[in-house]
């Protein structure tokens, strides 16, 4: 059988249908990768879209699998596509109602790193957003406790940004032995 034909015949995923009906102005792009729908959503409406995905009884993406980010500063193609937004905050959701997985990506500009925290929707976002803050410096507004989670509290910089040197900036020699809570 022809595989391509198979793909073509598949019906449009319910999540796309419903979002196009209710939040069409929030959608910047859509795609499909590894069996999950990928949506790129405008930052100012990201929270509303995520809330809709979670609370809509048919979709019911109740499980927040992961929150992370991507630094696209060296990915010219991605940069051009989304108005030179350096970061892409990524939410992975899963629905137990049979809708499977969906990935929501939100472009974030370097000069405005704020984005609304989703801890109000999923308690589990707490540590995931702290990690994203720690590694990329994304500022999750409304987060109850936005502290570093992996790096030491007095660490400077955000090491998963592409401009951070792999071997660091001398922290291995000059880290603080005393100030830590050990």
């Amino acid at each position: 059988m022809n595989e391509e034909k198979d793909v073509e015949e598949q019906p449009k995923p319910l999540v796309l249908e419903k979002l196009e009906a209710h939040h069409s102005d929030a959608l910047l792009a859509q795609d499909e990768a590894r069996g999950s729908v990928v949506l790129v959503v405008r930052k100012d409406q990201a929270y509303a879209v995520l809330e809709y995905l979670k609370t809509d009884p048919e979709l019911a993406y109740t499980y927040l699998v992961d929150v992370t980010a991507v630094d696209n500063s060296q990915m010219e193609s991605e940069l051009m596509q989304f108005d030179y937004a350096r970061f892409m905050v990524v939410y992975h959701l899963y629905s137990y109602q049979g809708q499977g997985r969906v990935r929501v990506k939100v472009p974030v500009h370097e000069n405005d790193l704020r984005i609304t925290s989703v801890t109000g929707l999923w308690q589990g976002a707490n540590w995931l957003e702290r990690e994203t803050y720690d590694m990329f410096g994304i500022d999750f507004e409304g987060h109850p406790d936005l502290r570093r989670i992996l790096m030491p509290d007095d660490f400077e910089g955000h090491p998963l940004r592409k401009d951070y040197p792999l071997r660091g900036r001398g922290e291995r020699e000059s880290f603080n032995f005393d100030k830590q809570n050990v």
Binding site: M151, P159, P165, R167, G168, E171
Partner: protein
Amino acid sequence: MGLDFVGQGAGETDGNIITTTIDKVVNWGRKNSLWPMPFGTACCAIEMMATLASKFDLSRFGSEAIRFSPRQSDLLIVSGRISIKMMPVLKRIYDQMPDPKWVISMGACASCGGVFDTYTLIQGVDQFIPVDVYIPGCPPRPEDLIDAVLQVQQKIASGAAPKGVEVVYE
């Protein structure tokens, strides 16, 4: 060993008197009852657990009494990656162990950072705590860890001071 049985004849004390020195007896006791403090932070710790379990059975060498309190142990086994956030913890644990104490640096990561030449990983714990025996490998097999314990035992039996002790000769 320096433990000598005295007497050749048919007297009552034959074979029942041992002459030795205090140092030798103490070292003999120490060497055969090393109590390890495991500091397992990564995959090497899995091999360390295997070493302690029944198949490799470190207790054959007197070191099965794992102590999770540094105050009750005299052999620190650093097995795994140590980050800049973990190093102060490791140093503190080392400082809490009573003298005399020995340190085994198990695996490439603990000894030199291994493949993780990155911003957050200590490139060798010996920059901050004295290490007596290094074990190469990623991860080392349990036999390697047993060999390292035996080398620590040899070192103790020979009367050499642990790496962490400054010996002042008068």
